[in-house]
C-alpha cells in the first residue's frame, strides 16, 4: 500500500483514540522504530502523532522507581544523566548500541519494544530490569503488567486504540548490570545479545535477572538459568550449567546474520560472559565478598 497518508497531532488521549479507532481509514500511531521502515510502506492511511500527549517524560521517584515515558527517545536514554550515571546505566548502554544518533533522536522506547525486528538491546534491558508496562485503553483505564508478558503476546499485545504510556522500572539498589553482544561489526545489529542484572540483598543471597536475544524468535528472560543461579555463589560449574541450559533451551531462528546453530552456541557464550561480568563487577565494587572457584 502506498497511498498518500494524512497526518494528525491530537492534543488529548480521547482525540487520539478517536482517530485510531476510525474504521474508514487505517490510522497508525506515528511510532518510529530503531530499525525504521519507509513511512510509505507501513500501509497507513493516516499517522497519528502522539507527541502532545505527555508521553516523553523520564523521571525517578524518591524510592528509585523509574518512569520511562513510552515516547522517550532512544537518544535521551543515552544522554540523560539519571540513566547514564546511575543504577539504570544498563538502559543507557543498551541505547547507545542501537541505531545511529539521528535515528535515535526519533525512535522511541515504544518503537523499540514493539518492533518485530531490529536491534534488541532496549528490550533486553527492560526485561532484565524487571520493567512493567502501562497501557492506556480506549476507555482511559490504565493497565499495568510485566513487560515480559507483553512481549510474550506480541504482536497481539496491543489493541488498535491502546496507547503505551510508560515503562515502570523498580529501584535497582545494590545491583550490577551488564550487556554482552556479538555482531558483524562493532555497531551492527546484534546476532546474539544478553543482559544481566545481579542483585545482592544484604551482601548475600544473590539473584540474577537474565535476558537473551537471538536465542529465540524474540528476546526472552531465561527463568531456568535464573533459577539455578538464585542464592548461589558463581562458580565455574554453575557457569557451565547456565551455559548448557541456555543452549539446550534455545530455539533460535536463522537469518542472514547467523544460522540457528551458530546462535544456539553463541547464546551460551554471551550468557557465560554476561554472568561473569556482573559477578566480577560485584566483586570489584564489594557487593559480594569473594568468589568461590569450587
Amino acid at each position: 500500500m502506498t497511498q498518500p497518508f494524512e497526518y494528525y497531532r491530537p492534543c488529548s488521549h480521547t482525540e487520539a483514540v478517536n482517530l485510531l479507532a476510525r474504521e474508514d481509514v487505517h490510522c497508525l500511531p506515528l511510532i518510529i522504530h530503531p530499525k525504521p521502515a519507509d513511512p510509505h510502506r507501513l500501509g497507513a492511511d493516516a499517522f497519528v502523532d502522539l507527541s502532545l500527549l505527555g508521553l516523553n517524560e523520564l523521571q525517578m521517584d524518591v524510592d528509585g522507581t523509574l518512569h520511562l515515558g513510552s515516547l522517550v527517545t532512544i537518544q535521551k536514554l543515552v544522554d540523560d544523566p539519571i540513566l547514564s550515571n546511575g543504577e539504570f546505566s544498563l538502559l543507557s548502554q543498551a541505547a547507545s548500541l542501537v541505531a545511529t544518533p539521528g535515528i535515535r533522536n526519533l525512535a522511541t522506547v515504544w518503537g523499540a519494544v514493539v518492533a518485530q525486528e531490529g536491534p534488541p538491546e532496549i528490550t533486553l534491558a527492560l526485561l532484565a530490569l524487571d520493567a512493567n508496562i502501562a497501557i492506556r485503553k480506549a476507555d482511559e483505564s490504565l493497565q499495568t503488567f510485566p513487560f515480559s508478558q507483553f512481549l510474550d503476546r506480541l504482536p497481539g499485545s496491543l489493541a488498535k486504540t491502546d496507547l503505551i504510556t510508560e515503562f515502570i522500572l523498580p529501584p535497582q539498589k545494590d545491583s550490577i548490570s551488564a550487556l554482552e553482544r556479538v555482531a558483524r561489526t562493532p555497531r551492527d545489529e546484534a546476532i546474539v545479545a544478553a543482559a544481566a542484572v545481579l542483585y545482592i540483598e544484604n551482601g548475600t543471597s544473590p539473584r540474577v535477572n537474565l535476558a537473551v536475544a537471538g536465542a529465540y524468535s524474540n528476546p526472552q528472560r531465561l527463568p531456568n538459568v535464573e533459577g539455578i543461579m538464585s542464592g548461589q555463589t558463581l562458580t565455574p560449574k554453575l557457569l557451565d550449567q547456565a551455559c548448557s541450559i541456555t543452549m539446550e533451551s534455545a530455539g533460535p531462528v536463522s537469518d542472514f546474520r547467523g544460522s540457528a546453530k551458530y546462535r544456539r552456541s553463541i547464546a551460551g557464550v554471551v550468557v557465560r560472559r554476561v554472568l561473569l561480568k556482573v559477578w566480577e563487577q560485584a566483586l570489584l565494587t564489594g557487593l559480594v565478598a569473594e568468589r568461590s572457584d569450587q
Partner: protein, 954 residues
Amino acid sequence: MKIAFELNGKNIETEVQPGELLTEVLRRLDCKSVKHGCETGECGSCSILLDDRLVPSCLLPAAHADGHRIETVEGLSQGTGLHPIQAAFMETGSIQCGYCTPGMILATKALLDKERYPSLEKARTSLSAVLCRCTGYVKPVEAVFRAAALLRGEPVPPLNSPAGSENKAETTQGHHSSSQVHLRPQSGSVVGVSTLKVDARRLAKGHPAFTDDITLPGMLHAALLTSPHPHARITRIDASRAQALPGVHAVLTYKDIPRVIFAPGCQSYPNPRPYDQVSLDNKVRYIGDKVAVVAAESPEIARQALEMIEVEYELLPAVFEAKEALAEDAPIIHDETDSIGIKDAKRNLVVTITADVGDVEEGFALSSRIFEHTYQVQQVQQTPIEPHVCVTYWDEDERMVVRTSTQAPFHMRRVLAPILGLPISRIRIIKPRMGGGFGGKMDIILEDLCAHLTMKTGRPVRFELTREQEFTNGRSRHPAAITYRIGVDEQGNLMAVEMNVIENTGAFGVQGMTVVNLIGMRGLSTYRSPNMRFDSKVAYTNLPVPSAFRGFGGPQAQFAMESMMDEIAAEMGRDPVAFRLQNAIRVGDEISIMALLGEGGPVVQSVHSSTLPECAESAAAAIDWDRSSDPSWKLDPARPNIRRGLGTALVMHGTAIPGLDMGGAVIKMNDDGSFNLLIGAADLGTGSDTILAQMAAETLGVSLDKIIVLSGDTDLTPFDVGAYASSTTYISGMAVQKAAKAVREKLFDRAALMLKTEPVGMIARDGRVFTSDGRSVTLGEIGLHSLHTIDQEQIMGTASHYSMTSPPSFGAQFAEVEVDIETGEVRVIHLALAVDCGTVINPQAAEGQMEGGMATALGYAVCEEMAYDDRGALLNPRFGDYRIFQADEMPRMTCLLIPSYEQSGPFGAKGLGEITAEGVAPAVANAVFDATGTRFRSLPLTPEKVWQALQESN
C-alpha cells in the same frame, strides 16, 4: 494541509500534500542540501536539525514540522560567507563526492553546539549519524576538531603540510589516524600541494550541484515496477488501470517501446559482448528485474499507479550458482533469439577467456612444490549514497537532454542513441556533481527508460531509484570462485601459476567479460613467473547484475592471489613479506599477461617505475610487523578469548587501459587572465576536477583559483572515456598538461608581441609571463591585449591523450586484527597502506582516496555481502542490514605515499583510485590466520564463518 514552521531563522507557511515527507518539502523549499539516500533514515543524508536535534527527515511526514524549528546547511552562512564548520570540512579535505557533507556538517554542529571540547569518541559517534562511502571518515573526524578550534577562536594549522611532512591526526583523547607523504623535488607550486578542492565550497554550502537538484516546469516523476519472481515470462500485462489514474501521464511496458538489444555498459566502442538486454522485456530474469515504468505528476501518484498494473507470469525454474547454471540441465536464462555474442546461451555461458604464457606444465615439472587452493568471493554493492538518478527533457532544439549521475557521459551518449532511435547529435548528456559511483554508475540503468518516458509524454521526467532498487537494479561486484595452482622451486621462485575463474554475472552479461579479463590480469601481474595460464568462464544466473566496482576484478583476484602467496610462504617457512618481494615484479620487467589480456588489444607492458619494496618496508614499520613473530603479543592475558594477528598483501593495479582510453581537454583564456578548463572527465568524488585544474595551473603559472573547471557535458566539453580504470589523472591529466602547454606557448607569443621581444626563454609564473631579461606582463594584461587590442585572438589550447602504456601503481597493505575465538568476531584494529602512485598531485586528496578505498575494502573483508534466500530474493536491501562501516566503528588507518616518477604520466603521476581498495581483504584474512592458525578462503569473514572454521580446526 497548511503548516507553519521556522526554517533557517525564517517563518515559513507552506501547503503539504498527503503522503509528503519532510525531505521532499524541504527540497521543494530549495533546501537542496537535504539529500535523498534511502527511505529508512539509515544513511543520514537527509539529516536536518529539528529543534536542535539531528534527525533524518525522510522518516517524518512533512506535517510533523508544523510548529517546529528546522535548520539546514543553507542556514549556516549568508551570501558568500562560510560557517567555521563548513570551512573546516573544506580545509581538511573531508569533502569527496560531497553528497553526505551537509549531513555531516549538521551532525558536527549538533555536537559542537553542546560541547566546545568534544572527545574523539563523541566526534566519531556524532558522525556515525551519516554514512559516507568516500572518505573512511578520517578527515571528517579531523574536521570536527578543526571546527571546534575555529569556533573557540583558536589558531589552526595551515592547510598545506610542508613537503615530506607527517600529518598525524591525534587528539588528546587518543590516536586517530595518520598519513605520511614523501614528495619528490619535481613538485611545483600547485602540483604536489594539498589545495582546497575546486568544488569544495559549493558542496560545503549545499548548493544545488547534483543531478536531482533541479526542478523543471512540468516535470513528471517516474517509478519502476519490478519482478517478484527470479525467472518468469510475462504472459499478460495490463496497464490500463494505471494509465487511467488521474495524474498518470505514461505507463510503459515491453509492448510500448521498440525492442533494441544492447549492452548497457558505458565502455569504449565497440561495446564488449554480449548484447543481451532490452529496456523492457517480456521475460524477467531476477527478482527486481524491470517490468514497467510510470511517469506521473507526483512520486506518490507514480507509486500508486505501479500497484494498478496487472501482470501475470509463467514461472520458470531459476538457478543462482554459477556452477549449477553451467550444468547441462540448468534452466536457460537467455533463450531469446536476438541476443548477440553469448558464447553458449543454452549452457548459460557468457564467455570463456584463456591465456597462456610459457608452458605451465613444464613449469610445474620444474617445481619442487605445488600448491592448489580455491577462493570464493562474494557479491557486494557499491552503495553510492546518491542513488541512480536522472532527469530527461527535450531542449529548445528538440534534442534529448539526459542529466544524469554517470561516470562515462560520452560512452553513455553513444550507447543510448540506438536504444532511443536518436542520432548521437540529438542527445546531450550532462553529468552534474556525482554523489559517488565507485563503478556502479558506468552502465545505463534508468536513463533509457527515463528518456523513453520523456519521448512518450513530451515532458521532463525525473527518475530515481529507491535504496532497495539501488541494491537490486543498481550494480554490484561479481562473485567468483578462483582456483590457483602454483608451482615453486626450492628457492621459493614461482615456476608456474595457473588461475581458473568461474564468475557469476547474474542475469545479464554487462561488463562480465571485462571483469573476468581483469581478474586474470590482476591475478597474474604482481609476481614474476615464466609460465602462466588463465582459464575462465562467466555464467548467467538469476541474480541481480554485477558490473564494474572500484578495482574492477582486482579485489577478487588480489584476495585469491595474496591469500595464496601467504599460504605458500607459511608452508615453506618463509617470511610473508620477503617471499612476496622475492617474486614481485620490478622495474624493467615485462608484464607478460597484459599482452594477452589487454582490453585494448595485445600491447606489451613493462614496469618503468616502482617503489614497492619501500612501500612494503614503510607499511611494515607502521604496523610494527615484528610483533607477528612474538607469541606473547598474540595473546591478551586480560582477554583469554582474544587472539591478535598481523597480515599483509602486496598489490599492483595498472593505470588506464592501454590503447583504448583517451581524454581531451580544452583551455581558453579570459579577459582577466583566468582560464576555463573544459574536460570530459567525470569527477565522481575523487577530486579529479581539482587535480586536473592543479596541472593546468602549474603549467600556466597561475594559482588554482584562476582555473574554472567545467567537466562532463557532451555538448560543452571534449571527449573523455570517463572515470574508470584509474585513468583520469594519467590520461586526462596528460591531455590537460598538453593543452596547457599549447596555451602557454600562445601566452609567450602574445607577451613577446607586447614586450617587443622574442618568446625564447620565457617562463610563466605567479600569474605573469617573464622574459629571460626579467621583464614581465601579467596574464590579465595578456588576456585584455589578446581579446581586445591588436591581432585579436582567443588564446586557447586543445589536446587529447591516449597511451599505449599502462604503468602499474603498487601498494603494500598491512592489517592488525583481533579475533574472538569463542564467537568468531574479527575486529580490525589498524590498517596501514603504502602506495606508489608516481608523483602525488594533491597529497590530501590522495590520502582521501586511500582512506576511502580501505574503508570500502574493509566491508568486503568482514561484513558486506548481498545475501539471498532460496528464491533469489535479496535479504538485506537496506543500509543497516547490508552494513557499510560507520564512523564510530572504523579502525585506525595509516596512509603512506611513497612516490616513484612515472615518465609517461603527467608530472610523473600514475593512477591511485582503485589500488587502495584491493589489499585489505587478503591482509585481514592473512592476519586472521596469523592470529588463529586457521585459513579462510572465502569472504566475508563473518563471525559465524570464522567460528565455524575454528570449531572444525579444533
